[in-house]
């Protein structure tokens, strides 16, 4: 029934609302896809595609009130922008600028695409967004450039917004984008979905970039705010897109689940004063149940069909936390076991650190501390504040307050985020107070 009624509503809305609002809606819903197609039709000229699409939107504001909103607004925009783009390329050629070899597309292909687009056919063109994702996340681009380009072209974030999110000066970020676009063209990075023999490797690079964007939003490495929800939202949106475009792959689904399950805790991660609240102390009623339900369903699907792959295992761990109604109900043995499996396929000292924390919860602080001490003596994580922070926590719980205090001090030196620094400083104060009150430690034996 809801499906039946939604159609008349849609069409009356178009008539009733001012065209400018309709343009705004089209801008929001179609910009990304139009841009992805346009970049291909304009032979990989990102700037030209962005500029001419902007102009096409401006033109639609003038034309549509008189002519009405076209049946397929995206096709109109792509076609209008493409003509503007080709005009400009021709003019450039006349003024003696060297014409590039049109290597990406053949003219017949374009005509075919456009007629399909105008006819509303969408099958193959959905791939343009996928092409854009793989091009933006090409491993020949520096990771910072991949992130900037992804947020700029796929998410439509302004250069200033991205600069602010990553705390770099606007000119630096603008320069990063210019260089990346230049490299794509000059080095011949193809605008395509990688062939099967490269797909797995390149998909890893894409997932890695998405997760990086998410993590920067989830736990900012520097700056006043611990959370930058807008970055998390963008990463999740792109994750959804990747799942939609690559339905046969399980890892994008697992990454989406992982992001959703973490993101679901956002309201509980900071208290009213903006201070960090640890997982065990969070008010779980503040967790987003819809996101958790969606994440849990995705995890199950991934584990069933894809098996123990890196993002699936991480998502499964997040799922164990999400399922526990209270911190004490957490199945820490299972968490530790999943970290052990993850370590097997993705050996990393950070994973080992997480496993140690789970071991401490499941089998006692001493057992966890043994792993952490080994990590520290091997110097595998120099400068990583969470290692001394985790050690400090276990030492504190074991009552070894003097050692805990020195580990907290070390963590405090290394932490870059003010919210984390304040949290560590609070804990340090607590253990220092205990040292003062304890006759043993104050030397009054």
């Amino acid at each position: 029934m809801t499906f039946m009624t939604s159609h008349p509503e849609e069409s009356t809305r178009v008539v009733a609302e001012p065209v400018s609002r309709e343009v705004e809606r089209v801008f929001r819903t179609e910009r990304q896809r139009a841009l992805a197609t346009l970049i291909r039709l304009l032979d990989g000229d990102f700037d030209l595609a962005e500029d001419t699409l902007q102009e096409a939107f401006a033109e639609s504001l003038i034309r549509w009130p008189a002519s009405g909103v076209p049946a397929n607004p995206r096709a109109w925009l792509v076609s209008t922008a493409r003509h503007k783009g080709l005009d400009r390329l021709r003019r450039r050629a006349r003024f003696g600028e060297k014409q590039r070899v049109l290597a990406w597309t053949t003219p017949q292909f374009e005509e075919q695409d456009l007629s399909r687009l105008e006819g509303g056919y969408d099958g193959e063109l959905g791939d343009d967004r996928l092409r854009l994702i793989f091009t933006c996340c090409h491993p020949a681009l520096a990771v910072e450039a991949q992130v900037a380009l992804t947020l700029r072209t796929l998410c439509g974030l302004a250069t200033e917004e991205i600069a602010r999110a990553f705390l770099v000066p606007v000119p630096t970020l603008a320069q990063r984008l210019v260089r990346a676009k230049q490299k794509i063209r000059a080095a011949g990075i193809p605008y395509r979905v990688p062939p099967p023999d490269l797909l797995a490797e390149r998909l890893d690079a894409v997932l890695c970039t998405l997760y990086l964007v998410f993590n920067e939003g989830y736990a900012a490495t520097a700056g006043p705010a611990l959370l930058r929800v807008e970055l998390c939202d963008e990463a999740i949106r792109l994750g959804r897109l990747l799942v939609e475009l690559l339905p046969a792959e399980t890892e994008p689904r697992a990454l989406l689940a992982l992001m959703l399950l973490h993101h679901a805790r956002r309201a509980a991660r900071l208290d009213r004063d903006g201070e960090l609240v640890l997982l065990e102390d969070q008010d779980r009623s503040l967790w987003d149940n819809d996101e958790i339900a969606e994440g849990l369903a995705l995890v199950e699907e991934c584990l069933r069909s894809g098996g123990a792959r890196p993002y699936a295992l991480q998502a499964a761990i997040a799922a164990l936390h999400a399922r526990a109604r209270t911190a004490v109900e957490t199945d820490w043995r299972q968490v530790a076991e999943l970290y052990r499996l993850l370590l097997g396929i993705q050996p990393s000292p950070v994973v080992e650190l997480n496993r140690a924390v789970a071991i401490a919860q499941a089998y006692g602080e001493e057992a966890g501390l043994r792993i952490l001490d080994e990590l520290e003596s091997s110097d595998a994580l120099p400068g990583y504040h969470l290692l001394p922070a985790a050690r400090a926590d276990l030492l504190r719980r074991l009552g070894r307050t003097a050692e805990a205090a020195s580990a907290y001090r070390r963590a405090l030196e290394l932490a870059g985020n003010p919210a984390e620094q304040r949290f560590l400083a609070r804990r340090l104060e607590e253990v220092e107070a205990q040292i003062c009150n304890s006759p043993q430690q104050s030397g009054l034996q």
Binding site: A187, I189, P190
Partner: protein, 115 residues
């Protein structure tokens, strides 16, 4: 597009290879070159004499100044190159990865700028 594949290796690593290993490397290079010749990617290529044979030339105020050795001392030295024709960077990277020297040192993939 044309790409120059610059092969960087530590000459000391190369010198440390046994006679047999070096012979095997030569054979591999020969097979690789033949392979890209037949596939139509090959446009040129040569190994270079050791860096000890290099001279650096500068012209300052119209005067030619020649010095011994390379411009900069690095751990890896340019030891050879291929000029190839490839559809795009992915194909160029795929070819570069098959150069035997990629396993010992590194290959720089540089697009040729058309004049």
């Amino acid at each position: 597009m044309e790409y120059l594949l610059l092969i960087y290796n530590a000459e000391s690593d190369w010198a440390a290879l046994s006679e047999g290993d070096r012979g095997a490397m030569y054979k591999e290079y020969y097979a690789f070159t033949e392979g890209i010749r037949q596939s139509g990617h090959y446009k040129g290529g040569n190994p270079l004499q050791p860096v000890a044979t290099a001279s650096t030339v500068r012209v300052r105020d119209g005067k030619t100044v020649t010095t011994d050795g390379p411009f900069a001392e690095t751990r890896e030295q340019l030891g050879g190159y291929y000029l190839i024709d490839a559809a795009n960077l992915d194909e160029a990277i795929g070819i570069a990865a098959r150069i035997p020297g990629a396993r010992m040192g590194s290959i720089e993939v540089r697009p040729i700028q058309k004049m």
